[in-house]
């Protein structure tokens, strides 16, 4: 099966604090075609994201396919609030890289 990396399909892949207790992930596509390809592939789901980040599914507070922005968005609960002692990403902005290499099947 031919596949393509998510990094090749998405315009923006980012993570960022959503308040002090959560990190939100945005995968945004430039157009409907790539968005639909990824959305319909069902490769990116609440389950698969929990598996990728090795967390229980209930740590994912939101998972949304957001058609108006051609975007898939999910949010992870932090174990400790941002900037707590021992915590390494105050802005939550470097938690997305594992998404870049996700293989998306081409039909």
């Amino acid at each position: 099966m031919n596949t393509v990396k998510l990094i090749e399909l998405a315009k923006t892949i980012r993570s960022k604090n959503a308040g002090t207790d959560r990190i939100t992930f945005d995968i945004i596509f430039r157009g409907k075609e790539n968005y639909d390809l990824v959305k319909n592939s069902k490769v990116i789901t609440k389950e698969s994201m929990a598996k990728l980040y090795q967390i229980d599914e209930d740590r994912i507070s939101d998972f949304v396919e957001f058609d108006p922005a051609f975007a898939i968005k999910f949010t992870i609960k932090r174990l400790l609030p941002s900037g707590s002692p021992g915590e390494g990403d105050v802005f939550g902005c470097q938690q997305y890289p594992p998404l870049l290499d996700i293989d998306i099947p081409l039909n």
Partner: protein, 456 residues
């Protein structure tokens, strides 16, 4: 008669955090916007600045950004609004910004104008009384309701203002407003609501403008954007010659920094963006319609942010190149921890290691388990009740990496490379202890707006 349109310029998504880019600001200023608005704070910066009551931005950058906005707005005779002064919006930060405005007015011999300000800090006694009277301080984002113990432990609390104190300040005739901690969107929504524009459009205007050029593409922060509100729509235009506000950039930004792309909450209600319609209006402008304002049922709830001190902190840095040591890094750290334990026991301090080259950035969320780096950097945080103890915890935790007694290590002169052979004093360690809301009878009860006159 209702105004046809109102134009607001936002030069910076977090004023002072990194200097505003001047070219796009002056391009925007030349078009004579009706308001100059910017927020200057965020809870992104962690609990340290709030707890320690200091800015994380540099004073020279804060002054630089305020100077541009003050000069342009005073010359054009239109209001300037700053929210969440000095990163945290604490009282001392509001006072500091007022002083900067006074200094600038003197330096530039600006003629008399009115400055309104309000504080956001919340007295613990106020909340204690509420709690004693049965009012729950409700936790946000899965947090439990506030306990008396958590309240007692909290060092400093700010309330996040909605549009209310800003509208009051404008009613009082303010030319410049310096606000304490505020919802970013309120800073922009307040003037629009006050001038008779619909609330759903006004709040959305705030949402789209609050991060300045983050709603434009290509990516580039600290550039100015102008939002235009009419009775029917919101339009947002990039001012930098190389940036555009597109359907994609604006729709994408609308979900920025929020758990859920549909709703944005603030004191007084929420905006529902589920059915927003985005259109390309012209080359550099996107048009947005069909958002909904949903006012809160019952009393207004104001968000509270609180920071609790954990202890004094020192930071150590150790570099490792020896492949055998890298392979056994967890063992090395375990041995270093053991040395600290022998000196200080199990409790009464915190010692944290982050191993860059392994999972320093992502910690437990890191899917890559195998170390592929030929070198590692270890950051050691030592936290304790006193500076002396924190220094010793961090120093022991760092230097014992240097003395790691691995059985087969070849380099017996030291198993770590130091940039500096010392541990560095850091701002004390804090934790966000409050991400809650409190019900208020009057949306202004936590925000007392005052007016002063400045200038010659």
């Amino acid at each position: 008669m209702k105004k046809k349109e109102l134009r607001i310029i936002c030069p910076n998504g977090h004023l002072g955090f990194s200097p505003t880019k001047e070219d796009s600001f002056w391009i925007g200023a030349e078009t004579k916007p009706d308001y100059y608005c910017s927020d200057s704070g965020s809870d992104d910066i962690g609990p340290g600045p709030l707890g320690d009551d200091k800015s994380t931005s540099l004073y020279v950058w804060q002054k630089h950004d305020l100077e541009m906005m003050l000069l342009a707005s005073r010359e054009q005779g239109v209001p300037m609004i700053i929210g969440s002064a000095g990163d945290t919006g604490t009282n001392s930060r509001v006072d500091m910004y007022i002083q900067i405005i006074k200094d600038l007015a003197k330096e530039h011999k600006i003629t008399k104008f009115k400055l309104a300000y309000f504080y956001s800090e919340v007295d613990k006694e106020y909340l204690r009384n509420k709690m004693n009277n049965g009012v729950e301080i409700e936790g946000l984002d899965s947090r439990t309701n506030l306990t008396m113990e958590e309240l007692d432990g909290t060092e400093r609390i700010v309330a996040v203002a909605g549009v209310h104190p800003y509208i009051k300040a404008l009613d009082m005739g303010a030319d410049v407003i310096i606000g304490g901690r505020s919802s970013d969107i309120a800073i922009f929504a307040a003037p629009a609501i006050r001038e008779g524009f619909p609330e759903d459009l006004s709040y959305y205007l705030g949402k789209v403008l609050e991060c300045a050029s983050f709603c434009a593409e290509p990516y580039g922060a600290k550039e100015s954007v102008i939002g235009t509100i009419t009775q029917d729509d919101v339009k947002v235009t990039a001012m930098a010659p190389w940036q555009r506000c597109t359907v994609a950039s604006v729709a994408g930004h609308a979900m920025y920094e929020r758990s859920n792309p549909y709703y944005e909450y603030f004191a007084g209600g929420l905006i529902d963006m589920s059915d927003c319609v985005y259109e390309q209006y012209d080359e550099k402008t996107a048009r947005i319609t069909n958002m909904k304002y949903v006012p809160i049922e019952g009393k207004v709830k104001v968000k509270l942010e609180g920071s609790t001190k954990i202890g004094e902190m020192y930071i150590g840095i150790a570099g490792i190149r020896d492949p055998y040591t890298i392979k056994h890094i967890e063992k090395v750290i375990e041995m270093a921890r053991e040395q600290v334990k022998q000196r200080f026991g199990e409790n009464g301090y915190e010692l944290h290691y982050r191993i860059y080259g392994k999972n320093g950035v992502m910690g437990d969320l890191e899917p890559i388990k195998e170390i592929k780096s030929h070198e590692l950097c270890i950051i050691i945080e030592g936290i304790a009740p006193t500076k002396e103890m924190a220094e010793e915890v961090a120093m022991t935790g760092t230097r014992q990496i240097f003395y790691a007694r691995l059985p087969e290590v070849k380099g017996t002169a030291g198993t770590a490379a130091f940039v500096v052979d010392e541990v560095l004093p850091a701002t004390p360690a804090y934790i966000w202890s409050m991400n809650h809301t409190v019900e208020v009878d009057d949306p202004l009860e936590l925000f007392d707006v005052k007016l002063i006159e400045i200038g010659e």
